[in-house]
């Protein structure tokens, strides 16, 4: 039982991390119909910003995290205003070509600037090791991930549910034509949301460096996972990817723990089965009304 709880805890932490990393992609893909395969580049950017701040400039980890968010969000705004904005009307395949090209450039540039070796972020002692709670091993770092990501999820949910901006965003998603006709500047709302998604990715990159590792190929290595989370969750809500990330995180960890021989198959097989069962994702909208 305690084992099971530990595994559950690990799975939840992993899932939460995946969610924060992928949520921005869910936003661009689901809300703005923009296939942004370069999403991981913003995550990596946030991760590297955090690493440089902590390791080289001695900024405390907990200060560096919001900075990573801010830096990635800023990068997101700049990229959106200068480049991605021009692509919203292009075909999906052109978006794919463009954003993959962007990732390639980001990867090579990171390699050039930061080197190809993995980078680690020096963690404060409080975050290292495990605490024992009634026999359930709780990793401090993972606990922090759950706390931060949980709070973030609540904050996102809160923003969406309780603020005027959230209401405007949901309105823009529900029916962009009418939202626009009623005075909501839909592109602006989306741009802000895009930047926020990039910021989240950056934060996810900073948080994930410890568990997923951080190297120049991060955006490509984890692209598949982001896509899985978003497609399985369905890209039209934020709850969908959240639940999907949790399900996949727990299933992956539990699968690897209980049947390590089949560990690698679990996540792919699960994805295929879910998508055949529900092509629009677990929480996706169906086409027919």
């Amino acid at each position: 039982m305690t084992n099971f709880l530990t595994i559950l805890f690990d799975g939840v932490a992993y899932g939460m991390l995946l969610f924060v990393l992928a949520s921005g992609l869910a936003v661009t893909l689901g809300l703005m119909n923009f296939v942004n395969l370069a999403h991981g580049a913003f995550a990596a950017f946030g991760g590297y910003v955090c690493a440089v701040l902590v390791n080289r400039s001695g900024v405390p980890f907990f200060v560096a995290l919001p900075l990573a968010f801010a830096a990635a969000a800023l990068a997101g705004v700049v990229a959106e205003r200068t480049l991605f904005r021009h692509l919203y009307r292009r075909s999906e395949l052109e978006q794919v070509l463009f954003t993959i090209g962007f990732v390639f450039m980001a990867v090579a540039a990171t390699d050039y600037v930061m080197g190809s070796s993995q980078v680690f972020i020096n963690l404060p002692d409080v975050l290292q090791g495990q605490i024992d709670l009634f026999g359930v091993g709780i990793g401090r770092y993972r606990l922090m991930i759950i706390v931060i990501c949980g709070l973030l999820t609540l904050a996102i949910q809160g923003t969406l549910a309780r603020t005027r901006f959230g209401a405007r965003l949901r309105a823009a998603v529900d029916d962009p034509r009418v939202a626009s006709g009623l005075g909501i500047n839909v592109p602006q709302v989306f741009a802000f949301t895009f930047a926020f998604g990039c910021g989240l990715a950056g934060l996810g990159g900073a948080l994930g460096a410890e568990i997923l590792g951080l190297d120049p190929y991060f955006p490509l290595k984890f692209l598949i996972y982001f896509l899985i989370v978003v497609t399985v969750g369905g890209s039209s809500t934020i709850t969908g990817p959240f639940m999907a990330a949790l399900v996949l995180g727990i299933a992956d960890v539990a699968g690897k723990y209980y049947v390590p021989k089949l560990g690698a198959f679990v996540i792919y097989a699960l994805m295929i089965v879910i998508l055949i069962w529900r092509p629009h994702g677990l929480f996706g909208r169906t086409v027919a009304r």
Binding site: I211, Y257, A264
Partner: protein, 392 residues
């Protein structure tokens, strides 16, 4: 998508014109080396260390040996064997290289082997570590190591040092299987017991469930092999799960404690015992110089991949000296056999029979030296041959 067909010819003309690149004329007095390593993709750091080391060596020793100018042509195969093969083939056929070197992963080395045989060209394997590579062609020699070498040593060492129960965690691919097999052979034969055996998928972002299995099986130590790039991640999560506190030692071949990542792993790595052929802390003058020069040039500590490259180019220089500049495969491979020298890693030689490397394997423990983490050697097994061949 409809494209006007009129464009077809013109597009083709464009393509052909752009693609018209010609091979360079080869001058008599140069010896060309095709260095094929992964410079992009997941294995990029391997390629970069080797490339750095080769460049460093040539800076230190000049680019002329035995009256010949040495020219290195660097190619990126992204660790894809079909790329390796094509690049090797083109280097041999078009660029007329006398030596092909590098090879970050085993399939890449395999892919080039038949070409070495066919073209009678020396092939120096500087990284790939599967035992049978050298048997693939009579023109192959190796300056890295085999996983067997380090794995059997750590197996023997574990038995002798009171480790009774071991859980193993190895990457689910050929080198991982190799490491596990050799370790098990020696450890179990010596009376040890394997209490848990886990194979980790190669593309695996989270070690948590596997580490939890390790923890649950309550071993004295865990034997770990993961590819060089993943070592840091692994150790981070090892510490996070509190395995260091619960007294489960990490033992294994040295890949997991690669010098170029060691410092980033943090104090959790302290106390890990691994067997390997190189440590940046190897206490010889020649190594100190090597590390200092490498750090100066690239701002980084050299890892075992760098040493493989450094020794590889050294081997070639020495072989050319011996042949008086003759660079055909037969002369070179003959010169290489039995060659012995003092490398930064310690004394090494090339086995005349197998053309594989014979070297000391050191048992090291991660310790803090001057505020930095190092693999500090504390026991030496001398002149270890590749057990994959001696067994036969």
């Amino acid at each position: 998508m409809s494209v006007e067909r009129r464009v077809l010819l013109r597009a083709a003309v464009c393509a052909v014109a752009v693609g018209a690149f010609a091979g360079m004329a080869s001058a008599q007095e140069t010896v060309k080396i095709g260095l094929i390593v992964p410079m992009t993709g997941g294995q990029a750091s391997t390629g970069k260390q080797i490339d750095n080391a080769v460049k460093l060596y040539m800076q230190q020793h000049g680019d002329t040996v035995a009256g010949k100018k040495i020219e290195v042509i660097l190619k990126d195969d992204a660790a894809l064997p079909d790329n390796t093969k094509r690049l090797a083939q083109e280097l041999i056929v078009n660029d007329k290289v006398s030596v092909i070197a590098g090879f970050g992963v085993t399939p890449a080395a395999f892919a080039a082997a038949p070409l070495a045989t066919q073209a009678k060209v020396l092939q120096i394997v500087m990284a790939a570590g599967t035992s049978i590579i050298t048997e693939r062609s009579p023109y192959i020699t190796r300056t890295s190591f085999t996983l067997g070498q380090s794995s059997i040593i750590i197996g023997d060492w574990a038995v002798k040092n009171g480790i009774k129960k071991v859980a193993t965690l190895t990457s689910d691919y050929a080198p991982g299987h190799d490491a596990l097999k050799f370790f098990k052979d020696h450890f179990v034969a010596g009376g040890g017991q394997i209490v848990e055996e886990v194979k980790v998928p190669l593309a695996n972002p989270d070690f948590a469930p596997f580490l939890q299995r390790m923890k649950d099986s309550k071993p004295d130590a865990m034997f770990v092999f993961v590819p060089a790039g993943q070592g840091g991640n692994f150790m981070k999560q090892y510490a996070e799960r509190g395995l260091d506190k619960s007294g489960i030692k990490v033992i294994g071949p040295g890949d997991v404690m690669d010098d170029d990542l060691l410092n980033g792993m943090g104090d959790s790595a302290l106390g890990a015992v691994t067997a390997h052929m190189y440590s940046a802390a190897h206490p010889s003058q020649i190594n100190k110089d090597f590390v200092a020069a490498y750090k100066k040039a690239y701002g980084q500590r050299p890892g075992f991949m760098a040493v493989g490259g450094y020794d590889g180019i050294h081997l070639l220089y020495e072989a050319l000296k011996k042949t008086g500049g003759k660079a055909d495969g037969d002369s070179l491979i003959a010169a290489v056999k039995g060659m012995a020298w003092e490398s930064p890693r310690g004394p090494i030689s090339i086995d005349p029979e197998t053309r594989d490397i014979v070297q000391n394997i050191y048992i090291r423990e991660v310790k803090k030296v001057d505020g930095e983490l190092y693999n500090v050697e504390f026991a030496t097994f001398e002149a270890v041959k590749d057990p994959g061949k001696t067994k036969k």
